[in-house]
């Protein structure tokens, strides 16, 4: 990439870094306005109950309380949900999980708002709690979703995959592993809790500052429950303190609540969740129960897989159907098979509710299959890494959904890299011969993964971007896809600068704002780099072409004869012309100096009825090795080494990519060993950061990581994606390492801490 100025360069830095490192960046909790009211939420103390009495009068009677709202203040009781409309911005008739919002009070101070919430008269009639997915499917289980949603009792959706017929193949396989896994809920624990600030506008509309992930969906939902046209709701995203998939539905609720209060009172209203509230009321990574059968022939060639999964959606669907779809499409892993069947059921329970979280279903699916593959390798007396190399996807192979992979595949190279860097053979042999009664037992394990790029069959996958050259020659950039710490703003700025041949500092990327940017659907599934990146590129190419025309005219040559020297345009005959001169000339010629561009992912199609089709147009790949130390006396596991190789195509922003890699792995370590958001009969057991532990610097080893560069022709400059999938391989690699250390197979995540002395 010798002639690229920014793409792939080590020196590119985050465009948001300065504001953040000085403490000047304003997050929504840092914003206050004169006359602003503080909002507090009344939440359900029970996981499942009918609302008998809800009386706001005692709250409204308190001095300093200005307004209070319930579902009755919204159109159709505030019914919303994307893609399934089964939720309410405030509970209607019933509460379905502990922590569900019931009413909101706005007051002059936070303390008064809290007193107001405590004064509300609430009477609930407890309903039987459904805390278990199997029990939820019983014929006499109480129905959880509202009657308006079409379901088969508590069974929300069934997702199938049909590729060939695994049954005869499994029957004929000399070695078949049959196993099951129980993968528990995970909390996002973004460091910034949920929050929104609503400001009433003179036209009867409302402006929102909210730390949501998808401002356009938020705008549309808020407008619909308020009965306003979408143009009268403006949603602006300030700096956001992490999301990892977790700031969608819960933010729609909280945005609608403050918006309504702002309209009622005519004053700005702000609501910021406490940590306990955030942990209680936000949605989680869905728990999955997985049953797997894998078969291989006597030469160790994988033959077939049969998988059944139950996905715990909790009280509301949120994105669980989509995450379960993705889990289904990845359930047998990054290997060649003759046949694969997967059946996944999405189930309503009273266990909070679940939605999007980094990895989006694949984190769970990959964990299960990678532990099973390890077991299969062991049964075949094969080295687990060698076994993976034999069976892993390569260019020209068919995936577990039966689709040909035509693009370059870096998976084998990833496996080889981690093998070499971890000194796999040597360590593996060393730990195999450690004494059974050693006070510390060691093990090393491997896992690999693939991850479909973009939304796939989950929705239309496009993005829109705009660019405009301002009077001062700076360039304003917008994108409908957003940044919440994962670095897209830097990537987009870089791509625009690269394509236009200007300094990055010339480009000002506006904060995502539904009034200035153009709707691009949700910012999920790590699609920002490919889809959003391409949209920026297309837009910049349009604008660049006009500048080129103007420059050619100035330089009295054909556009093709122009070269660039820094920002200057150089023709074959005349003096070089500065960017400013070219812009002035373009203006004089009457060329439009603003452009809009759209990019859509190549069409893929999935038939939900037959369970066949093409789920994703491309894949990323990766492999990780983990080394652990197990203390048999305490049951404590420490990760002592981690090696990670990721094939994310061409890496656009190396420093940011490494940050995603390390950050994803850290969340994977948490998922494997410490996190586990546990429910007992619908009651969350850990709602603070003391009992729900997330990894700290001392819980992690030094990570050695790399990117194996392949090219994806459709990606911007050949890039694929990486923010999500990098966490996918970590938990199973740790589980497999722990097997070498203890001789006991992991069946549950987080791995229960069990002394074995």
């Amino acid at each position: 990439m010798g002639n690229l100025r920014y793409v792939g360069h080590e020196e590119v830095r985050s465009v948001d870094g300065w504001a953040r490192v000085t403490g000047e960046a304003k997050y929504v909790c840092d914003m206050t306005l004169p006359g602003m009211l503080y909002a507090k939420v009344l939440r359900s103390p029970l996981p499942h109950a009918r609302i008998l009495t809800l009386d706001l009068a005692p709250a409204l009677a308190l001095p300093g309380v200005v307004a209070a709202i319930t579902q009755a203040d919204f159109v159709e009781h505030g019914n919303f949900g994307w893609p399934v409309r089964d939720n309410y911005v405030l509970a209607y008739q019933k509460v379905r999980y502990q922590g569900e919002a019931i009413a909101v009070v706005a007051a002059e101070t936070e303390a008064v708002a809290k007193a107001g919430v405590e004064a509300i008269r609430l009477e609930l009639a407890a309903l039987p709690v459904v805390g278990d997915m199997q029990a939820a499917l019983d014929a006499d289980a109480p129905r959880i979703p509202p009657a308006t949603v079409e379901t088969d009792g508590n069974l929300g959706e069934t997702i199938i995959l049909r590729y060939g017929d695994p049954e005869p193949l499994l029957a004929a396989s000399p070695v078949v592993v049959e196993t099951s896994y129980d993968l528990r809920h995970q909390e996002h624990a973004y460091l910034e809790t949920e929050g929104a600030l609503a400001i009433p506008e003179p036209d009867g509309g409302v402006t929102l500052f909210a730390n949501n992930q998808s401002p356009f969906i938020n705008r549309d939902i808020v407008a619909s429950v308020l009965g306003l046209p979408p143009q009268q709701v403006r949603s602006i995203q300030p700096h956001i303190g992490g999301t990892f998939g977790g700031k969608d539905d819960v933010l729609y609720e909280c945005s609608a609540q403050v918006a309504k209060l702002a309209l009622l009172t005519g004053r700005p209203v702000r609501l910021i969740f406490t940590r306990a509230e955030s942990m209680l009321a936000s949605y989680k990574r869905q728990a999955l129960r997985v049953q797997l059968q894998l078969g291989a022939d006597e030469h160790g060639n994988l033959q077939a897989a049969q998988v059944e999964m139950l996905a715990d959606s909790g009280a509301y669907a949120s994105m669980t159907p989509m995450a379960a779809w993705r889990a289904t499409m990845h359930a047998a892993g990054a290997y060649r098979y003759q046949a694969v069947h997967v059946d996944t059921q999405v189930i309503y329970t009273n266990n909070g509710y679940s939605g999007a979280f980094r990895g989006f279903g694949n984190t769970q699916a990959a964990a299960a299959v990678e532990m099973a593959i390890d077991e299969l390798a062991e049964r075949l007396h094969r080295d687990p890494l060698e076994f993976r190399l034999q069976n892993c996807l390569r260019q020209g192979d068919r995936t577990m959904t039966g689709n040909l992979v035509e693009h370059e595949v870096g998976l084998a190279a990833c496996l080889e890299w981690v093998r070499e860097r971890s000194e796999w053979e040597r360590q593996r042999a060393r730990y195999a011969s450690q004494p059974a009664d050693a006070p510390r037992r060691h093990g090393i394990g491997v896992a690999c993964y693939f991850h479909g790029c973009g939304l796939g069959g989950e929705g239309t996958d496009f993005a829109v971007s705009t660019l405009k050259i301002e009077r001062d020659y700076s360039i304003t950039l917008t994108s409908g896809l957003t940044d919440f710490g994962q670095g897209s703003r830097t990537v987009f700025t870089m791509l625009a600068a690269e394509e236009l041949g200007v300094e990055m500092s010339r480009i000002q990327m506006l904060r995502p704002d539904t009034r200035t940017a153009i709707d691009s659907g949700p910012t999920v599934a790590s699609r920002a780099s490919i889809v959003g990146g391409n949209a920026v590129r297309v837009t910049a190419a349009k604008l660049g072409q006009r500048l080129r025309l103007a420059a050619a005219d100035l330089c009295a040559c054909a556009p093709a004869q122009l070269v660039r020297a820094g920002e200057q345009y150089v023709g074959p005959h005349a003096e070089p012309h500065s960017f400013e001169e070219v812009v002035d000339h373009a203006r004089a010629l009457g060329l439009q100096l603003a452009a809009e561009g759209r990019w859509e992912i190549p069409a893929v199609e999935w038939n939900l009825e037959t369970g066949t089709g093409k789920p994703n147009f491309a894949y990323v790949f990766g492999a990780q090795v983990a080394e652990v130390e197990f203390n048999p006396r305490t049951g404590w596991t420490k990760v002592t080494g981690l090696w990670a190789a990721h094939d994310g195509g061409v890496i656009l922003y190396p420093q940011g990519a490494r940050g995603q890699l390390y950050g994803g792995i850290a969340q994977g370590v948490g998922y494997a060993l410490m996190e586990g958001y546990l429910f007992k009969d619908g009651v969350p057991q850990r709602t603070d950061l003391r009992s729900y532990r997330v990894p700290r610097a001392i819980d992690l080893p030094e990570i050695e990581g790399t990117f194996i560069e392949t090219r994806l022709n459709e990606g911007p400059y050949g890039a694929k994606n990486l923010a999500e999938p990098v966490m996918v391989g970590t938990a199973p690699a740790i589980a497999n390492a722990l097997f070498q250390a203890t001789g006991v197979r992991v069946q549950q995540l987080p791995i229960p801490r069990q002394p074995r002395a």
Binding site: R13, S14, D16, G17, W18, A19, R20, V21, T22, G23, E24, A25, K26, Y27, C29, D30, T32, H188, A189, Y190, L191, E192, T193, H239, I240, G241, G242, F244, T274, R275, F484, G485, Q486, G487, Q655, G656, R658, G659, L661, Y662, G663, G664, I665, A666, Q667, D688, L689, R690, V694, P695, R696, A697, I698, L700, E702, I703
Partner: protein, 163 residues
């Protein structure tokens, strides 16, 4: 109560201060210094970290009585007189230690406290030094890189000044 303390190098007297308020509330809600963040309000996450007399303190757990007559430094007070970034802040940017940035002010403060105590920490000591601060985004590795580099640079600078 009346409160006298030094905030970011400037003496400050405040009247009608509620004794129940924490230092974090005072900074954010009364003084408008929003650099210190509220990540948990229970002393677990470190996002609210400040220096009290040069030592690391979680301002959400610091009663004002402990501040009266003392010196408090927040992220806003770390920059040089002309607004230049401190060596630590520069290193955080250089090494990609900032993602969403919500932990960053507290993390920089924790690193500052560490380097004042131990100017030449090993990577393991750095990890222990920031163990009171949660970062959910970065996996800490680039934060450790940044602190290590800033330590080396501070030592080199002091060497020059002494020499």
């Amino acid at each position: 109560m009346e409160l006298n303390f030094i905030l970011n190098g400037k003496p400050l007297t405040l009247t009608e201060v509620d004794e129940e308020t924490t230092l974090l509330q005072l900074l954010r809600d009364r003084l408008g210094l929003t650099g210190a963040k509220r990540g948990c309000d229970t002393g677990v996450c470190g996002a609210c970290s400040v220096l009290v007399d040069g030592r690391l303190a979680k301002s959400c757990r610091t009663p004002l009585a402990q501040v009266d007559g003392h010196e408090v430094t927040t992220i806003e007070g770390l920059r040089g007189p002309d607004g230049d970034l401190s060596a630590l802040q520069t290193a955080f940017l250089e090494y990609g230690a900032v993602q969403c940035g919500f932990c960053t002010p507290g993390m920089v403060i924790a690193a500052e406290a560490l380097l004042r105590r131990n100017p030449h920490p090993t990577r393991a000591e750095i990890r222990r030094g920031i163990a009171g601060n949660i970062c959910r985004c970065t996996g800490y590795q680039q934060i450790v890189d940044a602190i290590e580099a800033a330590a080396a640079q501070r030592l080199a600078q002091e060497g020059e000044e002494d020499g």
